[in-house]
Every structure is written in structure tokens, then in C-alpha cells.
Amino acid sequence: MTARAATSAREPLHVDGEVIATKKAGAYRLLTIAAPGVPARFRPGNFVALTVAGHVARRAFWIHRIKESSAFGPTLDIVVEPRGPGSRWLAAQPTGTRLAVTGPLGRPFALPKEPVSCLLVGEGYAAAVLFPLAERLRERDCAVTLALAGMDEAHLVSTLEARRSARAVTVITADGSVGSRGTVGEQLPDLLRRSNAAVAYAAGPTAVLRDVARAAETCGAWSQAAVEVPGPCGTGLCHGCPLPVLGEDGVPRIVRACTEGPVVRGDRVRWAEL
């Protein structure tokens, strides 16, 4: 009975990681973390579970980017919005802090087999998960339209970089401080039409995910939603992160968001029960 080095390239690792850079990004904090072995297993839509000092429950964060670093090998970036005790603690950690990192975790985004048009809609910190997806889609010659939303300019993720990852970028803020003023919901029909998307990918608060799923269904597009359901482990061990879905057989089920998700088909989620 020993700790095993995960053999399959798909299996997550539990490693002793380290914060190697930290910087402010609007209302968020961008952390670069060395977590040996984790970046190589990454696929867009994965997340990591991090240990927060003094807390039993792990905290989940989308993997925003994999970077090469000369000193540490490949590293991963996460975007932290400081709000509760765990996220505030993480956001305050200096370079050099050691962190237990488990990942990559969860089902990644499903990619279209053909080079179709894709609409990526992200609101708040969760938009972070869409950037590596956009790159992967571009590599597959998909036309990527990226819509980034937030309550104001400070709550937008990496807008500058967005221009590099996507063919078209739309920015929406609730207060109109940058981009167009309004909500994702209002602009969705237009976005779907203009992008002519065959697949819509969504990340953000439940309302955004639901709106995208419904709008996509109306247009006959597929949708994929990156769902966040609170849960203590992130590894599938506890069944503590219930996600109400409809099975392929049409039967309502509750699955583990961290393991059967967090990325799920938008038309499978029973949004009213979330």
C-alpha cells in the first residue's frame, strides 16, 4: 500500500507546489504556480484543488494558462477573486509559498471534430478557463468569438490577451466602464447570430451558464458549461458537489460536479434546481 506515481497520463497528481509569481489583475490576483507534472496533463476546462492553510476543505480554481518557465519547467496560472477566507488567503500569499496542488481535475471541454465557429462566453473570474480553450480551438482552425463580461473593468479577465486568442472579442460590463454596457443575457442572441456558432462554451455564474445553454438550444447549437458547485475535495471522493442533470436516457440524476463535470453539456443540466 504505497502512494503511487500516477501512471496514466490522464490521472491527476497530488504534488507539493509553489507560488512562483503573483500579481494584481484588476480586482483579481493572478498566481503562477509550479506544480511538477500537472501542466503536462492539462486539458482546457480542467481545474486544480489547492490547500488553504488552516482549512480542511480544498479550494478549486480553473487553470487559466500553462506557461513555460525556465527555472521551474511548465507552470500554471490561476485567477483568484478574493472574497472568502480561502481566496483571500491565497490572494495574499507571497512568492515562495508552498501549496499542496491536486490536478488536473475534472472533465475538460469537449472539442468539435470539425473546424466550426465557436462562441466562448465568460463572466467574472471564471472566464479564465476559456483562454486555453480558445487557443486549442484556434489550433483546430475553429473561428473563435470571445465574449468577456464583468460588473466593471476590474472584473474582466485578461482582455488584452483575449485579442490574441480569438478572432472577435466582445467586452460587456454592467456599468459600461469598458466595452458595451449591459448583461450577457441581453446580448446573447446577437452574439450567437453574429458568430454563427455551432458550439457555445460558457463559464461564469449559474445565470450566465443557463442563459447560454438555453440560447444555444434555441439556435440549434451545442453548448458546454463549466459549472462551479461547492464541494470539499474536488477529486470525486466525497459525493459532496451535487449537480442535477438529465441522463442521456432522459432520467433525472444527481452527479458529482467535480468528476462527471465540471464541464457538462448545457442541455443536460437541470438549471432550475441549481
Binding site: M1, T2, A3, R4, A6, S8, E11, P12, L13, H14, T51, H55, V56, A57, R58, A100, T102, P230, G231, P232, C233, T235, G236, L237, C238, H239, G240, C241, P242, P244, R253, I254, T259, E273
Partner: protein
């Protein structure tokens, strides 16, 4: 019957289906207690199932499980192939259901033993057979024992309720339990007032008290400690106080390599 449990077991409901633990722990030879299985599939609770509190977690997961049939068809064979020593945790709403579960599990290949969950923190909410009094718990154990081969262990898992645990352990042992597990979660409430069970380091002193009182009163009964073990030191505390083995639950949610690490460190002791 001597029971070889190994000093460190995976606690019920905290090892997923086994598959999710496999990347972090070679299951070969590991005593793995499944989450509690019921005759029919259960969805589990829909609201927030687990919240963090000081030093632990409060949970009311609601026994989500695919039901015995599906468990036998999919989860059990996988665990057996992985080499785990599978202890199936059983839960039911009637004595008849417990007997049924035990009978059908006795025929399933690869079941090392059973663990009878007679210590849920809130039976009413779960529609489980009520075990308010020790003789209720004992009747469940007896029903299971009758249907399960005498040469394979049946563990009785109790509430860590100091005022009743000695009586409960005695009654279950007399009813045929090979060993008594102390215990399930401590009855507690979520911040919003819903009933749930407290687990993790916060409960270790409570479980230790149950263990010391039971070990003193019932020196002949093998006791397995469960509650708050998270490293070799906390495991040794229980083993030193008379437990034949420890189970690890919540700590696996915090660090999925815990069982592997603790077992390795304890192995170094030997």
C-alpha cells in the same frame, strides 16, 4: 476468527467508488470500506451537502449510491480487480432490507466483509432503520450476521455518543459483530440549521473518549477508531489507546494521499 484489517482503512463515503482514489493510492491489499449501499438506488441530498467548519466538515450527503444491483455489477468488480479488500457498508430502512443486503453480498465474489452503518447522525432524515437504543443496533447486526458467512468479518459502525457507546458496542458484539467501529460522524447541524454529521480533526477527542471508555469496559472486543485521523501521530494515538485499526475519511478529502502516507509511516514503526 482473527481479523486482519491492516492498521489503516479507507472510511466509508470518503474513497469515492475507488477509481477516484486509485491515482493517489495503490489499492492492492488496502481495506476499503465502500460508501453505504442500499437495496435501491438513492440520489442523495440535493442542497449543499458538505460545508467546512472549524477543524472539520459537516455533511449530509444523503447516501447517494446506485443501489445494490448496480453496485455489484460495476463498482464491486472494479474494486476487486484493483486488489482492494472490500468491506461493503450496508444501510437499510428495515431489518429485512439489511438481511437481504447481507444475503446477496455473501454470494458476491470478492467481498472481504461487511460494515453495518448503525450510527448515521440523522436516521430519520435518511429513512434508515432507527437505532435509538443499543438493542436496535444489535438487532440489525444480528440480522446481517445470520445471512453472512461466519468466517468473514461483520463490522458494526456506531455513533461516537459517549453516553451510549459502551452499551452499544457490547450489544453489537454480542449480536455477532466481529469488531466495532467508533464511529460515524458526530450529530451536528449545518450553519443553516439542517441536521448533519461532524467529521475531521474536530471530532478526534470525542472519538478517543469513546474508544478509551469502550476499551476499558470491553477489553475483549476489537475496536476500530474512525474520526479525525489525518497523520501518523493521530493514528498512533488511537492505536495506542487500544484500537486494532483506524479508518480515514475526511483527511482523504483534504489530501487524497493520506492513507498511503499514514500506512507507510506506520509500516516503518513495525
Amino acid at each position: 476468527m482473527t481479523i486482519a484489517l491492516g492498521p489503516v482503512m479507507v472510511a466509508s463515503g470518503c474513497g469515492g467508488t475507488g477509481r477516484e482514489l486509485a491515482p493517489f493510492l495503490d489499492l492492492d491489499g488496502v481495506a476499503f470500506v465502500t460508501r453505504s449501499v442500499t437495496l435501491d438506488a438513492r440520489q442523495g441530498a440535493s442542497g449543499p451537502r458538505v460545508v467546512e467548519v472549524s477543524g472539520g466538515l459537516v455533511n449530509a450527503v444523503g447516501l447517494p449510491n446506485p443501489g445494490l444491483e448496480h453496485f455489484l455489477a460495476t463498482e464491486l468488480p472494479w474494486l476487486v480487480r484493483a486488489g482492494a479488500r472490500v468491506f461493503v457498508s450496508v444501510a437499510g430502512s428495515t431489518l429485512g432490507e439489511y438481511a437481504d443486503l447481507a444475503r446477496r453480498l455473501s454470494r458476491a465474489p470478492g467481498v472481504a466483509g461487511l460494515e453495518v452503518n448503525v450510527g448515521a447522525p440523522d436516521e430519520t432524515g435518511l429513512d434508515l432503520f432507527e437505532v435509538r437504543e443499543p438493542y436496535h443496533a444489535a438487532s440489525v447486526v444480528a440480522a446481517v450476521r445470520r445471512e453472512f458467512p461466519a468466517d468473514r468479518p461483520v463490522l458494526a459502525k456506531l455513533r461516537p455518543d459517549v453516553s451510549r457507546v459502551v452499551e452499544g458496542a457490547r450489544a453489537c458484539h454480542e449480536a455477532g459483530a466481529t469488531a466495532v467501529v467508533l464511529g460515524n460522524t458526530v450529530p451536528a447541524a449545518f450553519p443553516d440549521g439542517r441536521p448533519g454529521g461532524l467529521s475531521g480533526p474536530a471530532v478526534a477527542p470525542v472519538v478517543l473518549r469513546c474508544l478509551t471508555e469502550t476499551a476499558r469496559s470491553l477489553p475483549g472486543v476489537p475496536l476500530v477508531a474512525c474520526g479525525g485521523v489525518h497523520d501518523a501521530a493521530s493514528a498512533r494515538l488511537f492505536l495506542g489507546a487500544g484500537a486494532v485499526a483506524v479508518q480515514i475519511g475526511t483527511a482523504l478529502l483534504h489530501d487524497p494521499t493520506t492513507v498511503a502516507r499514514v500506512a507507510a509511516e506506520l509500516g516503518d514503526d513495525a
